[in-house]
């Protein structure tokens, strides 16, 4: 017992009773922690190690795994789908930013000015977020139907020619972006709305007294006051959209002609269609490195803010 107590130097001088209490408290604490430690160890911490090991090994799960250095990376990079996957993922993220980054902010600014139907509008904008993603995606698959799908019917009403949406390599990716934006718009809108409500009214007051018009007030009061949350959301959206999987998986299967293969989808294909977990692991590791860059930026923004207040 005594050597256990002596471990932390700070506590060495404590009287016997206090030391015993410290041991007891630690035992209880670790008793409380053990469930979480087991879950994290097996399903969060070990997988990180395993991910690295996986990508440097050749493993068919029958013979003992073999270390192969960078072979997995080499073979994945030589795959013609590799380039397409990264370009598509970048394009998907970029398009999702163009389509989906400003809209929630604009909606939130407008919603914040309205004095009626607020509950309804807030509820409605969040409805698609509550749908299971698979349901939203399959619903849009039906809307995109080139024959009697809703979207072509709408185009027809306005006298526009029908589009082939998912079936053409030029429109397939933007179609995926549309679904994803529709399903996630509500989150950003409500987060911005919460941020807008914390802007003190006096700022607008004095800006107006100085003669600032509506748009100048948005530019010089609203945006600076919400700059932080705007930055945080930018990082989060990039990280979220670069992991896109369910849209290509359910809508296009990566086609037509690799036009919608994404990195996450290619990783899935390597592991579960080609049985090459090494190649999949290599892709996952590359994606991890890229996304960690954005996560780190996000974390720095969050931390700087915490210190600032």
């Amino acid at each position: 017992m005594a050597h256990l107590v002596a471990k932390p130097p700070v506590r060495r001088s404590l009287p016997q009773g206090a030391a015993r209490r410290a041991v007891g408290r630690n035992l209880t604490a670790y008793g409380f922690l053990c469930g979480a430690l087991i879950c994290f160890a097996f399903f969060s911490w070990y997988p990180m190690v395993r991910e690295v090991v996986l990508s440097f090994q050749e493993n068919n799960f029958v013979d003992p795994p073999k270390w192969v250095g960078f072979d997995n990376f080499r073979s994945v990079i030589e795959d013609p789908a590799f380039r397409a996957a990264w370009l598509n993922t970048a394009a998907f993220s970029g398009l999702a930013l163009i389509v989906g980054y400003a809209i929630p902010f604009v909606l939130a600014v407008v919603l914040n000015e309205l004095r009626h139907a607020r509950g309804y509008l807030r509820f409605v904008v969040y409805l698609p977020v509550m749908l299971p993603p698979a349901v939203g995606v399959l619903l849009f698959k039906w809307f995109y139907d080139p024959g009697a799908g809703l979207f072509n019917q709408i185009l027809d009403v306005f006298g526009l020619p029908p589009l082939s949406w998912l079936d053409s390599s030029s429109t397939a990716l933007i179609s995926l972006v549309l679904v994803s934006t529709w399903m996630n718009l509500g989150t950003g809108t409500l987060i911005y709305l919460a941020a807008l409500q914390s802007i003190p009214g006096e700022l607008y007051e004095s800006a107006e007294l100085d003669g600032a018009g509506l748009f100048r007030r948005v530019r010089h009061v609203t945006i600076p006051q919400t700059k932080l949350i705007l930055l945080v959301m930018l990082m989060l959206q990039v990280v979220a959209t670069m992991q896109v999987f369910i849209e290509p998986y359910l809508l296009t299967g990566g086609g037509p002609e690799n036009a919608t293969v994404t990195v996450a989808y290619l990783m899935y294909q390597y592991a579960f269609n080609f049985g090459d977990f090494g190649g999949g692991g290599a892709l996952g590791l590359m994606l991890m490195v890229v996304l960690m860059v954005f996560s780190t930026i996000y974390l720095r923004i969050a931390r700087d803010n915490e210190g600032g207040r």
Partner: protein, 321 residues
């Protein structure tokens, strides 16, 4: 009482709004802090006209964008395959034949999928609460040696997007190291990873940190065990955050697609999302749409009931990495 227990605000918009609703309501009705547009300009005739125009446009626009697709889904299920293929489409279904919902229920064994999903989400919820609450309490109030390191390692998992660990985590579920269990096609494959949630630990610990020490010390002096303190003092005052964590955990598991797709490949074990997606190719269009309606009902219902907790959790959720 609640206000003193509110967690310290790190970032205003990313802290759960645990304050009771009544205060906000009062603010909306009575004295109003101004926003972008001044109340004065709204009172002029031109201001009023602009305001009502914008309001009508926004309400119609939101309804078209977010409600109309759902209307189209619900009515689409009632149309026959011929009516679905018809150009131009009918705005109202010709006949209200709810039999298609029964077809969807039977042909797609939606009952089985729904029951599975309830088991996965419910079990994940209970396990998450049990595991994460005790862990957060230990880290916050008992402060064991290496507690800070453990917390940092748990929070570090938030930096790694879940998608990139998909394959190694799948391999763990397939053959758990040391124990050698195969968790595939068992609910544990959903429950255990769901409980390893750094974000919940973070939310709970931050809340527990804000509970005054004196409250716990008084109980300790009275001889209450840590378990007793957790149960009788900490949990009752933590109801708001427990609500947020509960809703988030259930909804996350319910909506998840990729993970159950991998670890529950057997048809009888599938969750509702995966089940519908994997059987979608073989179904007539209207039956598939009916099954989509059935699959979206539970989450929308949950949203109706727990709207406030969900929106509170959302602003907290923006911290999730």
């Amino acid at each position: 009482m609640t206000t003193t227990l509110q967690p310290q605000r790190v970032l205003k918009a990313t802290t759960p709004a645990v304050a009771p609703r009544s205060t906000r309501k009062k603010k909306d009705r009575g004295y109003e802090t101004r926003s972008l547009v001044s109340p004065l300009s709204l009172r002029s005739r031109r201001g009023k006209l602009t305001y009502w125009t914008v309001l009508v446009v926004v309400v119609i626009g939101f309804t078209l964008a977010f409600v109309f697709p759902l209307y189209w889904m619900v009515t689409g299920a009632l149309k026959s395959p011929d009516e679905l293929a018809q150009i131009p489409p009918s705005f109202f279904p010709k006949s209200f034949d709810f039999g298609v919902y029964a077809d969807a229920w039977n042909q797609l064994q939606l009952g089985v999928f729904l029951k599975n999903t309830v088991v996965y989400a419910g079990g994940a919820w209970l396990l998450t609460l049990a595991v994460d609450v005790t862990a957060a309490y230990a880290l916050s109030k008992l402060r064991p040696y290496f507690g800070k390191v453990i917390l940092a390692m748990m929070l570090a998992t938030l930096m790694i997007p879940p998608m990139v660990l998909l394959l190694p985590t799948y391999l763990v579920a397939k053959d758990v190291p040391i124990f050698g269990f195969d968790l595939l096609n068992t609910p544990w494959a959903i429950w255990l990873p769901a409980a390893a949630n750094g974000f919940f630990i973070f939310l709970l610990k931050r809340f527990f940190d804000s509970i005054p020490r004196e409250l716990l010390e008084a109980a300790e002096i009275d001889g209450a065990s840590p378990m007793r303190i957790l149960w009788s003092i900490v949990l009752p005052v933590s109801r708001p955050i427990l609500g947020v964590v509960s809703i988030l955990s259930v909804v996350t598991v319910w909506k998840d697609f990729v993970w159950p797709l991998l670890v529950l490949p057997e048809t009888d074990k599938m969750s509702i999302s995966v089940g519908i997606a994997s059987l979608s190719a073989q179904m007539p269009q209207n039956v598939l749409i009916a099954s989509l309606v059935i699959a979206s009902l539970p989450t929308i219902l949950v949203f109706f009931v727990f709207q406030r907790s969900i929106m509170a959790g959302l602003t907290a959720g923006s911290l999730k990495g």
